[in-house]
């Protein structure tokens, strides 16, 4: 054993192994230190038989070890064999407790008192050491585990997997793989989509969900762990399910204390920040290098490449470029300025606010999934009403937003470093305005998936996007005349609050003085009259409330609660008052708004005396509609059954305007006080169907309609995700003979949707393709005259309404006869 190694590699995961193998191959004096009694503990701890993926597929592998997608055992065997063949100097069962010294002379202390001397250290310790713990009440119960060694061990259990990443999905799949084990497996995802997991894993999970093998709970959080059960918070309220075992796979954090103890700085105070690194993986402590998951990149292929690269750097090869270099070089080739890949990466990272806290490695990863482009002054970046769900960031230059579609000269600038197009990302709407480059501008376009991944993994980016969204929402809400400076105090003080369905945000009679803006979801306003909560009004996303108590210093006059799971931004009332003081125009507007709300309150209270049954009816009808999903609707078909004669002309008209299939079921659905909510799309504000569309075929049109375009692959995800059952899967039927040839000669099946038999037989006869595709209401977009269901109703029973307009006293209490 030499006195001093050239390099000590701490951790024998893919990164450490690859580094050690390359060091051995290059004849560098080295030692590989591993805490456990085997190599590559992270992969060793994978489930038996787990299929290990080799993404990203466009990245070449640069390592002395082989690696390709395959079973866990095969990969571990290969590595063990090759490590032996390369004569790598390995020290097992050695846990490093401290690293001291300077470059050229490090002392690595180990548990038990042994020390190792090395000139340089490569830290490849990964992040597995510290899994994130559950933070709910009951999180210390013994039936919670943070790892699953062998899914075959568990029988006849109710098992809840918490976490929507690859580990969670793979555990859930493993536990549910063998029906003989008779496990009831649920997986919780606090979001609607599995943005952090690999596409192939998500596909397998969805298949299992389809077959009923796994219960997939989206938009669900664990609330409390109890003996034999778990309380969940879902989109529609609290649910308790039986649960014998909880497997929490909610990611892990870098073992930061130890790393910082070695003198290494991190990019921020954020819990999930990564160490500051140079492009050659050197930390702020010269001579110590960090690679692999701890460096911010958890994929095996990347880790192995970094292992190879770090040894090259240590051997003085400064010319070496990362393996993804050619891919990025090609991307950047189109940009002006002739800068190198590293220079460009730095430009993007330094200039774009939401990317500032990313490590160079995360930048590279993000860049692989993004597009860059350069625009000259006046070039159009995108046009209003263009479909598009990506988000743009301005790396250099600035852009102009055409806020008035009728007059392109009215513009609002967005400066360097900011983002635009973020609305498309959130709700999948079409572009709201045309955007032009104000000068020579370089943009980065993040695909919807890449952007969602960024927001899910980088809290700083998430905060930055939230901040920009809040600022723009405030400016939009309070109209022209305000500048970002005016609202900056409010934006600074803003706090994003998640509100579960049915929870009060404001309690009637309370003394608090905050103002709220609904960012997502919707609220209902209730007033307690004579012991009964009376529905006052409905507030869609984008409304603000709570200003009354602030302006006149009174107590809260009504209760405001979430109609569905919502997100509100809370602003302190005094900051709002200061804003009003500075802007007399805004004060005037707030006072007008307040007066009209007062009027509704007074009106209902007054009516309560004289027409109490009308008020009750109004209140309960409004509640019924909110209960039936109007709270998240933007446009809904209602049928007034005091007028409906059941002719089904609406369904026939729907089928005849859309290739022969009806997108609504008039009879099905709930009814209250003769107001019927048929099974038909409500064009949700945040469509559940959009959550997991592999080809991204579900979009929102200019009139607010949510539609499926021709790229649908028929996977059925949207149908499963829709809580209202309004999406059907059917092949496009053959064309029917014309109306007149049916009328005069009885040709074909007649108006409306043809029977299944007719469709199938005729399609077979004509040799048409029978692939099932998803179909849903598109609000008759592109059809002059508007929704056919409404136009074709002979009695006026079918109406389409925007909920905020319909859920008013005058509309709901009116008599139509």
């Amino acid at each position: 054993m030499p006195d001093k190694y050239r390099v000590a590699i701490v951790g024998s995961g893919p990164a450490g192994l690859s580094a050690a193998a390359h060091a051995a191959a290059q004849g560098l004096s080295h030692i590989l230190i591993e805490k456990t009694d085997h190599l590559s503990d992270t992969i060793f701890k994978y489930q038996k038989g787990k299929h290990v993926m080799a993404t990203p597929s466009n990245l070449v592998l640069r390592s002395d070890l082989d690696f390709d997608a395959g079973k866990r055992e095969f990969i571990l065997d290969t590595w063990d064999r090759q490590i032996e063949e390369h004569k790598v100097n390995v020290r097992l069962n050695a846990e490093v407790t401290a690293i001291t010294g300077e470059t050229g002379n490090f002392t690595i202390e180990m548990k038990g008192g042994d020390t190792i001397q090395a000139e340089a250290v490569v830290m490849a310790i990964g992040t597995q050491g510290n899994p994130n713990k559950l933070r709910t009440p009951g999180a210390d119960m013994p039936h919670i585990q943070y790892q699953l060694d062998d899914p075959g061990e568990y029988f006849d259990e109710h098992i809840t997997v918490v976490g929507s990443g690859d580990a969670g999905i793979e555990n859930a799949l493993g536990l549910a793989a063998d029906p003989k084990q008779n496990n009831t497996v649920s997986i919780l995802n606090r979001r609607a989509e599995f943005a952090r997991a690999k596409a192939a894993n998500v596909a397998l999970l969805e298949e299992a969900e389809r077959d009923g093998r796994i219960n997939v709970c989206r938009e669900t959080n664990p609330l409390e762990v109890r003996e034999k059960e778990i309380v969940l918070e879902t989109r529609d309220g609290q649910v308790t399910i039986p649960c014998d075992r909880i497997i929490a796979r909610t990611g892990s954090q870098p073992p930061r204390g130890f790393v910082e103890g070695c003198g290494i700085e991190f990019t921020s105070e954020e819990r999930s920040a990564f160490p500051k690194l140079t492009p050659s993986f050197e930390t702020t402590k010269n001579g110590i290098h960090v690679i692999g998951a701890l460096a911010g990149y958890p994929l095996i292929k990347h880790c192995m490449n970094q292992g190879y690269d770090v040894i090259e750097f240590l051997m003085g090869n400064d010319e070496l470029k990362p393996a993804d270099e050619p891919i990025l070089a090609e991307k950047f080739a189109a940009l002006p300025g002739n800068r190198s890949v590293d220079e460009w990466l730095e430009v993007f990272r330094n200039n774009i606010v939401i990317l500032r806290e990313l490590s160079p490695l995360q930048m590279r990863e993000l860049m692989l999934d993004s597009d860059v482009a350069a625009f000259d002054e006046g070039d159009v970046i995108f046009v209003r009403n263009d479909p598009g769900s990506s988000m743009f960031a301005i790396a250099e230059g600035s852009v102009l937003v055409e806020v008035n579609p009728d007059d392109p000269s009215v513009t609002v600038p967005i400066g360097e470093g900011s983002i635009f197009g973020e609305v498309g990302l959130i709700s999948g709407r079409r572009r709201g305005s045309t955007i032009r480059a104000a000068e020579t501008t370089v943009t980065m376009e993040l695909s919807r998936n890449a952007a969602l991944k960024l927001l899910a993994t980088a809290p700083s980016a998430n905060r930055a996007v939230n901040r920009i969204t809040i600022e723009r929402q405030l400016l939009q809400m309070f109209g022209s005349g305000l500048t970002p400076d005016d609202v900056s105090e409010l934006v600074e003080a803003a706090e994003l609050v998640q509100v579960p369905a049915g929870k009060n945000v404001i309690d009637e009679g309370a003394d608090d003085k905050d103002i709220f803006v609904i960012q997502q979801g919707s609220m209902i306003v209730e007033k307690n009259i004579g012991g009964n909560p009376i529905f006052l009004s409905y507030l869609p996303a984008g409304s603000y409330f709570g200003e009354m108590a602030v302006i006149d210093g009174s107590k809260r006059t009504a209760t405001v609660k979430a109609a569905i799971k919502s997100e509100v931004v809370r602003f302190p009332g005094d900051a709002f008052m200061r804003l009003l003081d500075r802007n007399p125009k805004l004060r005037e507007r707030a006072l007008t708004d307040m007066a009209s709300r007062r009027k509704v309150n007074a009106f209902v209270e007054e009516r309560k005396e004289s027409f109490s049954s009308a008020v009750d009816m109004y209140s309960s009808t409004a509640k019924f509609l909110v209960d039936n999903g109007l709270g998240e609707a933007t446009d809904v078909l209602l049928i007034d059954e005091s007028l409906c004669v059941g002719c089904d002309n609406c369904e026939k008209a729907c089928a005849d305007s859309h290739e022969g299939l009806s997108r609504l079921d008039r009879e099905a659905g709930r009814t209250y006080a003769h107001l019927h909510v048929p099974t038909s799309c409500r064009h949700c504000e945040h469509p559940h169907c959009m959550a997991d569309c592999p080809p991204n075929a579900i979009k929102r049109g200019p009139d607010g309609e949510v539609f499926i375009d021709e790229t649908c692959i028929g996977c059925g995800n949207c149908q499963r995700n829709c809580p209202y059952g309004v999406i059907r899967m059917d092949p496009k039927p053959p064309k029917k003979p014309s109306l007149l040839s049916w009328l005069f000669f009885g040709a074909g099946p007649g108006p409306g949707e043809a029977s299944y038999d007719w469709r199938k037989k005729t399609a077979e006869k004509k040799g048409l393709e029978q692939a099932k595709l998803a179909i849903k209401c598109d609000m008759c977009a592109g059809i002059d005259g508007g929704p056919a269901c409404v136009r074709a109703c002979p009695t006026g029973a079918a109406i389409r309404v925007a909920p905020e307009k319909f859920l008013t006293f005058t509309k709901l209490a009116e008599d139509v006869d």
Binding site: R384, N385, P405, D635, D640, E641, S642, L643, C644, V645, G646, N649, K652, A653, D656, S657, E667, A668, G669, R670, T671, H674, H676, P702, D703, G704, L739, L743, P751, M779, I783, D784, G785, G786, P787, A788, V790, R791, A792, C793, P794, T795, G796, A797, A798, I799, R800, V801, A802, K805, K811, E814, V816, D817
Partner: protein
């Protein structure tokens, strides 16, 4: 019309008026039709034609032309309803106009005759017109009265769910009836075997089913003197009766809402034929 991207236009497309075909656009077509009737009645008494009012005077020809035109236009509703073409038309507006202009035909058509009625093809056309209008008046009245009852009776169930609920009761009945003796089993079997959807025209319209085997079977289980098994069957039979009641009421309302069309439409076709005969004969025997 504004461009499609115009938000106001999108709003207008979305927000449809919540009002019935009878009160469409503040009774626009009622007003039009009352005005037409008033003009026709007043002018009938003001215009002095020789020798007297009949279809052959210039005044009679005018009313006849208007009337024939209206009849043809009114009959086109059937095609409008089924031809879902693009455009800013509303079937509700058409229905509203159809109803009120159709009622105005009583005045226009009758004034056209000059009250000269007799046993000929001309009066046949008038009589058929009146038949169509009277059946239409029935139609309006059931359209106004029955939808609420139809909706209340449905209790949020679709037709398929009602039939499925009946089938579920039948399955339970079959199991529950196993321990019964011959006579009682026969009554249950008779109830289960009866095709509940085969009902005569009258039964369907009145909702009265005197030969209902389920009701008859219930009589085999008089209150009081019955054991546990019999009690279970009896309560299932009661549930079956009430489920049948819902289905039959549904069928009755639907029948009442549709039965008049079986007169209204054929009579319209006959009316158009008679109208052609009337016009041809008038000009042929000029």
């Amino acid at each position: 019309m504004a461009s499609k991207s115009d938000f106001a236009y999108a709003e207008q497309r979305r927000d449809t008026d919540h009002e019935s075909f009878l009160s469409h656009k503040r009774m626009r077509w009622l007003k039009v039709s009352v005005a037409i009737c008033l003009i026709v009645i007043v002018s009938y008494f003001l215009v002095d034609v020789e020798p007297r009012h009949n279809g052959g005077t210039w005044y009679g020809y005018t009313l006849g032309t208007i009337g024939a035109g209206l009849i043809i236009w009114l009959s086109i509703l059937g095609i409008r309803k089924r031809n879902i073409s693009e455009g800013r038309w509303s079937l509700k507006a058409w229905t509203s106009a159809h109803v009120y202009l159709g009622l105005a035909l009583i005045v226009i058509g009758t004034m056209h005759t000059g009250f000269q009625l007799g046993w000929n093809v001309h009066t046949l056309a008038w009589a058929l017109m009146m038949l169509v209008i009277i059946s239409g008046i029935y139609g309006i009245s059931v359209y106004a009265a029955l939808p609420r009852a139809l909706s209340t009776n449905k209790r949020e169930m679709t037709r398929a769910q009602m039939v499925e609920a009946l089938a579920a009761i039948d399955r339970q009945l079959e199991t529950a009836a196993q321990p019964l003796d011959r006579k009682e089993s026969d009554a249950v079997i008779a109830a289960l075997d009866q095709d509940v959807f085969r009902a005569g025209f009258l039964a369907r319209l009145t909702g009265k089913y005197p030969r209902c085997a389920t009701k008859r079977a219930l009589r085999a289980f008089p209150d009081g003197s019955i054991n546990k098994a019999e009690e279970k069957v009896s309560s299932l039979l009661n549930r079956r009766t009430s489920q049948l009641g819902q289905i039959r009421r549904h069928m009755r309302y639907k029948a009442l809402l549709e039965v008049w069309l079986f007169i209204h439409i054929p009579a319209t076709i006959a009316l158009i034929a008679a109208l052609i005969a009337h016009i041809v004969s008038v000009f042929y025997y000029w």
